[in-house]
Amino acid sequence: MCLGIPGKIVRWVHRDGTLAAAEVEFDGVRRVCHMACVPEAKEGDYVIVHAGIAISRVDPVEARRIFEQLEALGDDDGWRDD
């Protein structure tokens, strides 16, 4: 139910208030999403969309953190799947 899908803002349609809306692209498919909760988002930004509304902006710097953490874990050294 709390499913949220990241999509890229292609174009703002409406900028104000409860009508705020933008075209957001998900895997090549575009959909108009409601943007009232992320008024500061820019075209090219990614937002997490739930039930037709963007609830959060994806932070591209934080998005790399897990891969840095993985890097720090080092190589897979002989772990067996047992």
Binding site: M1, C2, L3, G4, I5, P6, K8, G17, T18, L19, F26, D27, H34, A36, C37, V38, P39, Y46, I48, H50, A51, G52, I53, I55, S56, V58, D59, P60, E62, A63, R65, I66, F67, Q69, L70, L73, D76, W79, D81
Partner: protein
């Protein structure tokens, strides 16, 4: 898909699994609160891969599942009125009420429509001025901004034939109810990522301290979940109980203040009955007085409640509170399947029973 596929990298997942196994000196018991996470843990085989190392207890975080039968019965009663078109998310329509589901009502000629967004229900109201469009508003804090926006939109555009049947629930009071029950075995929580995207996680700091339990905000993809589990295990091994954020690409400590303000303007906190828990203090949201004209219960003066009939075989209360796992229910996979569900956890794709049925039936 960007910000999705890279978090499903099998090699990264293996490394994290390895690290979890190396770190854990005992079989810690973790609860993932959100049903979306339950689904992902089973779908990607993480629960199975951690067997013997970490026990995952599946939490109550499926809003469709915890919606009480009374609410579904009430929605059905409304949907049978000639002037009403009842709308909700698709999953909600399949949940059995006392006698039938909303989809059964539709098969019998009732006007019931599944929508993707509550704002689509407002559009239906605009296009069908002769009908009263009611949206059954279920969901956690993740969904509350969308339904609040829907009533704001209806008010803005002067759409008088739209209303909400509000059954919104709040996650943290349920977590508190869980840890205070005498038989709670949970030692750490994975907090629901998208609830936190809206609400933030500052409020978990007092919770973690008070109950001495680590709380780690986690996302929904395999790497997100494994990083969350690893963070829990590290804290447990070190005897710590802090709040950590392993979903920082989508969640900030303060959450989304704009979304919170929209929710606060429309809703106030109330006590609410949860299936499997009874009434949870401050466990839900209801429309504020100023928005009462959009309250379906007030509009259709739904006062007399009908007697509720629960399927007697269904152990959904035990499932939702994490006391038992789905295969322990005698009806699981026999009398109860996704095609003929006896209880809500078998209906919703995020319900624990459906997730086990889909991914672990033979395992």
């Amino acid at each position: 898909m960007k910000y999705l596929d890279e978090y499903r990298d099998p090699q990264g997942a293996r490394r994290l699994l390895q690290q979890i196994r190396r770190t854990a000196t005992q079989r810690w018991i973790l609860m993932e609160v959100c049903g979306g996470q339950t689904h992902s843990l089973l779908r990607h085989g993480i629960e199975e891969a951690l067997e013997g190392c970490i026990e995952l207890v599946h939490g109550p975080g499926c809003p469709v599942c915890v919606t009480p039968t009374e609410t579904i019965d009430l929605a059905q009663a409304l949907s049978k009125r000639d002037d009403v078109m009842l709308t909700s998310f698709g999953d909600m329509l399949r949940v059995p009420g006392s006698e039938q589901s909303l989809l059964d009502v539709r098969a019998g000629g009732g006007r019931v429509r599944a929508v993707y967004s509550p704002l689509d229900a407002v559009e239906l109201a605009r296009r069908n001025p002769e009908k009263e469009v009611v949206f059954l508003a279920v969901g956690f804090e993740t969904t509350a901004p969308a339904t609040a926006l829907a009533v704001q939109r209806a008010a803005h555009d002067g759409i008088g034939n739209f209303s909400l049947l509000v059954a919104h629930v709040r996650v943290q009071p349920a977590m508190e109810a869980l840890v205070q029950s005498s038989d709670c075995r949970v030692q750490a929580f994975l907090a629901a990522g998208h609830v936190c995207a809206v609400m933030g996680y500052a409020s978990y700091e007092a919770f973690a301290r008070q109950f001495g339990l680590p709380v780690v905000v986690a996302g929904f993809e395999p790497l997100d979940l494994l990083a969350g589990i690893l963070a829990c295990v590290r804290q447990l091994e070190a005897g710590e109980a802090r709040v950590e954020n392993e979903y920082s690409r989508g969640v900030q400590r303060e959450g989304n203040p704009v979304a919170q303000a929209i929710v606060r303007e429309v809703y106030e906190i109330c006590d609410r009955p949860w299936r499997g828990f009874g009434t949870i203090r401050q466990g839900g949201l209801r429309l504020r007085k100023a928005w009462r004209e959009f309250d379906a219960e007030a509009r259709f003066s739904c006062t007399d409640s009908l007697p509720v009939i629960e399927a007697s075989q269904c152990l959904s209360g035990e499932i939702l509170s994490g006391r038992i796992k789905p295969p322990a229910c005698p009806a699981f996979g026999n009398a109860c399947t996704p095609d003929r569900p006896l209880g809500a956890p078998m209906v919703s794709s995020e319900g624990a029973c459906a997730a086990f049925y889909l991914y672990r039936r033979n395992g």
